[in-house]
Symmetry: C2
Subunit: 189 residues, 2 copies
């Protein structure tokens, strides 16, 4: 049933996902849903957990057996592919995890760990590794969401831009790894 909700969110948009529509799709009347889920907020929490779990699985599968450049490329591609395929529920993965610690937070942690494992191959200092993780996430998340929102008007293939961007990141990583024993990256400020 959470799966059906996910399908609606992905195909028709997260904001058009309504309990009434979900009930209809299941051949049930709306109030009956409350026998299975505690309401809209709870449903979204479960969807978030589902999305994070699938994303983590996809990323892990993509990066297995690879390291450095190939691993980063595979990770980036998998991330972007996930966003394209799961527009609706992906948006939920970001929803401010509020105050209460959620069970889904542990899954989010898994994703960070995967990134850390891959970027660890570059032998950066601890702080720089964190910088690099954040940069990679920003890069890929930003591109994927802008793309999904139709933000790229120019008639140039998005694939090429994405690849170009990822290569630039990998190049920067390599440079930081070899000569960057100081805190500042490529070009000093």
């Amino acid at each position: 049933m959470v799966a059906v909700a996910a399908e609606i969110a992905d195909r028709e948009g997260l904001d058009t996902l309504t309990l009434a529509k979900l009930a209809t799709r299941l051949g049930i009347k709306p109030p009956s849903l409350f026998n299975h889920v505690a309401g809209m907020p709870a449903l979204r929490r479960e969807l978030r957990a589902l999305a994070l779990r699938e994303l983590a699985d996809d990323l892990a599968a993509a990066a297995v057996g690879k390291s450095l450049g190939p691993a980063v490329r595979a990770l980036a591609d998998a991330y972007r592919r996930f966003v394209r395929a799961h527009r609706g529920i992906y948006a939920l993965t970001l929803s401010a995890s509020g105050n209460e610690p959620e069970p889904a937070d542990a899954i989010a942690e898994r994703i960070v760990t995967i990134c850390a494992r891959i970027l660890g191959g570059y032998g950066l200092r601890k702080r720089e590794t964190i910088h690099a993780i954040r940069a990679l996430r920003s890069l890929v998340h930003g591109f994927a969401t802008l793309e999904a929102a139709g933000g790229f008007g120019m008639p140039v293939a998005a694939d090429a831009s994405f690849a170009w961007m990822v290569e630039m990141f990998i190049g920067g990583l390599e440079r930081t790894a070899v000569n960057g024993r100081d805190e500042s990256p490529p070009a000093g400020r």
Copy 2:
């Protein structure tokens, strides 16, 4: 009145912005709003235009009189600052501009032009300039939205990560500018 709506969206969240709340804030009854705006979709369209206009102004002001590295830094900082200050309406700037061409689209174009002007200083080929614009937007947009969503759990200053990331981008740009006469960026695939 659109300004009041923007303030609500920024301070209390875009999804809590309701016509009833806006009416109360203005000291009138909800139906009276329809004398000023055609409804919720129209209000959001106007908010989007407002947000894009302010963002474009901020970016232009930040980058005036600068070029290359300093200009990119200023642009990135201004963009991030805007997202932090206008969480609510910023989200609207991305909303798929649908099928109908909106007047707000022209303003969005202005922002692209600003980026193009700045990155043009690196003397890249036309296609690479587009790649670079997209990369910069992805980078900055991604970081800002992840940050706003509370996505950075690690206890490392976000400021430092942001600066690191921007420097890495500038470094990559410079490298591409000097030796990159071929299509592929830093490290070949």
